[in-house]
């Protein structure tokens, strides 16, 4: 197992290195530059030129990349041009919001998706099945911003049940430790703050969960239908095992393998979906920050954030691979 992990981590190094070159070329190929985004409309050409010089953007790209790589090897991703804070500080500040949101979305997607998929499979062809399959299709097709708009209209504006934006009520007296507001509230026993943060997570969590939920429903349904027809299920039933045991140990567990793979892959999609969800809910995570960094040509943030996310993506998929062996003893990581 350890050898497997080490090998996978080493495999990731050239991937990330190649990605860094592609990213470096891409961000510099974007038209315009930070000297336009950071100075007002009527700044003079001289002022813009001076800023480019000061930021070292007039040096050959290869020289700039060398400097970037040199810093990277020392664990330094540079500074955000937009905010004037180190990229790592910015990431540490913004990442917890996205983690909270992604975890919430994944909890919603899994806790609703697996039972719904299972029920649909059990009643395959019935009304519930059609409803679930149809609903999941709508979930996949609905743009996140539209869903967010409708959710806010109904639950925030009309019913006033959930807040329409932010991570916590402005001005709330809350202690910050990890940046995960719900966790911080629980850890400090500031129950109001934890509950407040949780309530702020519900609508963006639902909006972000729509696509993974739909995918998980469909995959669970397909998996369960397939496994239900397997010989070993019939054998298990024939030898008189309790129905709950058959369904839990034999059907669901086997049907879950592709679902777990999907969850790993969906975590990447969640980060992508978070860009829009965070914007429309003013949630302040990495998605929103990357978007604004693209607008302002904040090269260090674009490079740094995307590289960290890529590394995390590799890590998540490694965990998914390891979890196979836990779900299915026949799978050995090697």
């Amino acid at each position: 197992m350890l050898r497997f992990i080490v090998r996978r981590v080493l495999q990731a190094v050239p991937t990330l290195f190649g990605l860094s070159i592609l990213l470096f070329i891409w961000v510099r190929a974007l038209p315009g530059g930070p000297e336009y985004a950071l100075l007002p409309e009527n700044a003079t050409a001289e002022q813009r030129a001076a800023l480019r010089r000061a930021m070292g953007l007039d040096d050959p790209v290869i020289v700039q990349y060398g400097a970037f790589l040199g810093r990277l090897l020392q664990g330094d991703l540079g500074q955000s041009l937009q905010t004037g804070r180190p990229v790592l500080t910015e990431f540490a500040m913004k990442f917890p919001a996205t983690v909270e949101l992604a975890v919430m979305a994944m909890i919603i997607a899994v806790s609703a998706g697996v039972p719904l998929g299972y029920l649909a499979a059990r009643r395959s062809g019935g009304a519930l099945d059609s409803l679930v399959v149809g609903g999941s299709l709508v979930g996949i097709c609905t743009p996140v911003f539209f869903l967010a708009f409708v959710l806010k209209l109904v639950f925030a504006e009309q019913l006033g049940v959930f807040p329409s934006a932010f991570r916590q009520t402005p001005g709330i007296d809350a202690t910050r430790i990890t940046g995960l507001f719900v966790v911080d509230g629980i850890a400090t026993r500031e129950w109001d703050a934890a509950w407040d943060a949780f309530m702020h997570l519900v609508l963006p969590g639902l909006a972000l969960a729509s696509i993974p939920l739909a995918v998980i429903v469909r995959m669970t349904r397909a998996g369960v239908i397939e496994v239900l027809g397997e010989d070993y299920v019939r054998t298990a039933e024939a030898k008189g095992l309790h129905r709950r045991t058959v369904r839990g140990r034999h059907v669901l567990r086997n049907a879950m393998l592709p679902v777990v793979t999907a969850i790993g892959l969906l975590s990447g999609a969640l980060l992508a979906g978070a860009v829009l969800t965070e914007s429309v809910f003013a949630f302040g995570g990495i998605g929103q920050f990357i978007y604004s960094a693209t607008q302002t040509r904040d090269y260090p943030v674009l490079l740094g954030f995307i590289l960290i996310i890529a590394a995390l993506y590799v890590l998540i998929n490694l965990i998914v691979d390891i979890s196979y062996s836990l779900l299915d003893p026949r799978v050995r990581v090697s």
Binding site: M93, F166, P170
Partner: protein, 556 residues
């Protein structure tokens, strides 16, 4: 069996949902607790972006200034709700005849938030600090407005930086500060009202001095004192209480020893909501009490729903630039005039701009000193446009026309809609238009490099001085405009060094007349950027310069 199982699966979800609804109801009712709302409820205002720094000299954007302006004050300021310059920390001021010496008589009894008194030495310490900036502080990204007004620094580290025109600041007595510059400039005294030049306490300066800009060369890390509340003490009606970077909010608390009327509302919170629809929904849901830059299409529905959308006076200009280097046909004055006659600017104002918008007769709004009633005007007259094009032999002209996408600017609320009207007007007089759209982040580099023959752009004034509008565009050759005209450049050169404000106003009027005769582009409109407040708030006086002072707001 299946029914029972389904119940087992759905029951926890239903219970959780019910609990959430009950708890949400509790949370909502807690939020509406009683007491004097000005003392118990924070006023929450949504800005469109995060502030950059709590020290305004290190910023050049309105989102930063919206926050710092509540806490830190300038020597001069604009009258509440207007554009006239009036005393701020300086009760009165005078200038020497040659415009190189500015004497400020400070208010008595002004104290900083750390308890120190405001005096002339404190003012000079601020100006000396700014002129003495070294290292990465000299990047135009860090100290844009200082460089814009004073050029460079005491010791320039980039040899291409112009020399600083700041000479010295002396405390003549406790409440008299004299600032000397090496040459007169048209931007004074207006520039002394710039939010960047707000005064902080000598103790704050001392503490800030120990904090260098860090980071790599060219990518500076802003010093800690500018990133967290606690160091900077200003003189304004609010103090910095907390900057929650995670929660994207700045909390300000009332300063009870303020020299003027203390703020009505005890706590003011500025939150960031970048997305336009999210701002509106947050207001409608009661999560914020107001926001800036309301989309024109939202104004009427918000008013009908009971929200307050006070109208600001206009202080900006939208223009269609003609770049003569991009299209040599535009070198012909008749072509430039024909395009001006072709565009129905009144239709743009009537159908796209919010209430209070006006057709622009020149490149500055009427509220700016130096506006001329005698400029050459170009009424909407398609027949005259066709005639002029025919005389110029350009009746079948093809021309490219750029406009930005994914952006709303205070002077340009709906660029595509404005473009569509102008395009249809130009087609109507026989022109063939090649539309060229670019997202905002690519747009200015695109137009600046001379890629567009016609393009839409504009400017919102920083202070009431026509040079702040005309200076950058017409002070000399600029690749964004691509023309050289001695008459235009010389009148601008003359006004730039005229120390007498009255004479300068006359020269600006002359400049506007010369510019509109030459017609380097077509000024289209002046548009009031909209701001909105919830029905339970008495809004502060709205400012044409978007410089609202929230100490004057209150809950009804």
């Amino acid at each position: 069996m299946i029914t029972r199982r389904k119940g087992r699966l759905l029951a926890p979800a239903a219970a959780a949902a019910a609990l959430a609804l009950v708890a949400a109801g509790c949370a909502q009712s807690e939020r509406d607790a009683g007491g004097d709302p000005n003392e118990t409820r924070p006023l929450i205002f949504a800005g469109t972006g995060d502030p950059r720094s709590l020290d305004p000299v290190l910023a050049n954007d309105g989102e930063t200034f919206r926050v710092t302006r509540q806490v830190m004050e300038t020597l001069l300021e604009h009258e509440p709700g207007g554009t006239e310059i009036q005393g701020g920390l300086a009760e009165s001021w005078e200038q020497s005849e040659d415009g190189t010496e500015w004497t400020f008589h400070l208010r008595e009894g002004v104290t900083f938030h750390d308890g120190e008194s405001l005096d002339a030495e404190a003012v000079c310490a601020n100006f000396d600090r700014w002129n003495g900036f070294t290292g990465d502080y000299q990047s135009s990204n860090q100290t844009y407005y200082w460089q814009n007004v004073f050029g460079g620094f005491a010791e320039n580290e980039d040899e291409e930086l112009p020399e600083s025109i700041y000479d010295s600041c002396t405390a003549e007595d406790e409440l008299t500060a004299v600032i000397r510059v090496t040459e007169p400039s048209a931007v004074f005294p207006g520039a002394f009202s710039l939010s960047s030049f707000a005064i902080m306490s000598p103790a704050s300066i001392e503490e800030a001095a120990g904090q260098e800009v860090g980071g790599e060369e060219g990518a500076p890390v802003l010093p800690d004192y500018s990133q967290e509340a606690g160091v900077i003490a200003g003189t304004g009606p609010y103090t910095y209480s907390e900057w929650d970077h995670d929660g994207r909010e700045v909390t300000l608390e009332r300063y009870d020893d303020y020299w003027g009327e203390p703020a009505n509302i005890k706590t003011l919170i500025i939150k960031t909501i970048s997305e336009e629809n999210a701002r509106r929904q947050a207001l409608e849901a009661g999560d914020v009490h107001g926001y800036d830059l309301v989309a024109p299409a939202d104004v009427q529905p918000l008013e009908e729903a009971g929200f307050q959308v006070p109208v600001r006076d206009v202080f900006n200009v939208l223009y269609m630039a003609y770049n003569q280097e991009a299209s040599e046909e535009l070198e012909d004055p008749q072509v430039r005039q024909a395009l001006a006659h072709a565009v129905d600017r009144q239709r743009i104002v009537d159908t796209i701009l919010p209430e209070g918008g006006e057709v622009a007769s020149q490149f500055i709004p009427e509220t700016v000193d130096g506006w001329s009633p005698d400029v050459q005007t170009y009424d909407h007259d398609p027949d005259r446009a066709r005639e002029l094009l025919e005389e110029a032999g350009q009746e079948d002209m093809t021309i490219d026309f750029c406009y930005p996408t994914e952006v709303t600017r205070p002077y340009m609320p709906a660029p595509k809609d404005i473009f569509d009207i102008i395009q249809s007007d130009l087609k109507d007089v026989g022109l063939t238009i090649e539309a060229d759209s670019k997202p905002w982040d690519e747009y200015i580099p695109h137009t600046d490099s001379g890629n567009c023959s016609l393009y839409l752009l504009g400017w919102t004034g920083d202070f009431n001085e026509a040079y702040n509008f005309l200076g950058t565009w017409f002070g000399g050759y600029d690749s964004a405009w691509g023309f050289r005209d001695d008459e235009v450049f010389s009148v601008m050169e003359e006004v730039a060094s005229e120390p007498d404000p009255d004479k300068r106003t006359e020269l600006y009027q002359e400049a506007n007349e010369v510019i509109m005769d030459y017609l380097p582009g077509l000024p289209i409109s002046h548009s009031p950027p909209s701001i909105v407040f919830s029905p339970d708030v008495e809004p502060p006086p709205v400012s044409p310069l978007t410089q609202e002072q929230f100490d004057q707001a209150s809950f009804k």
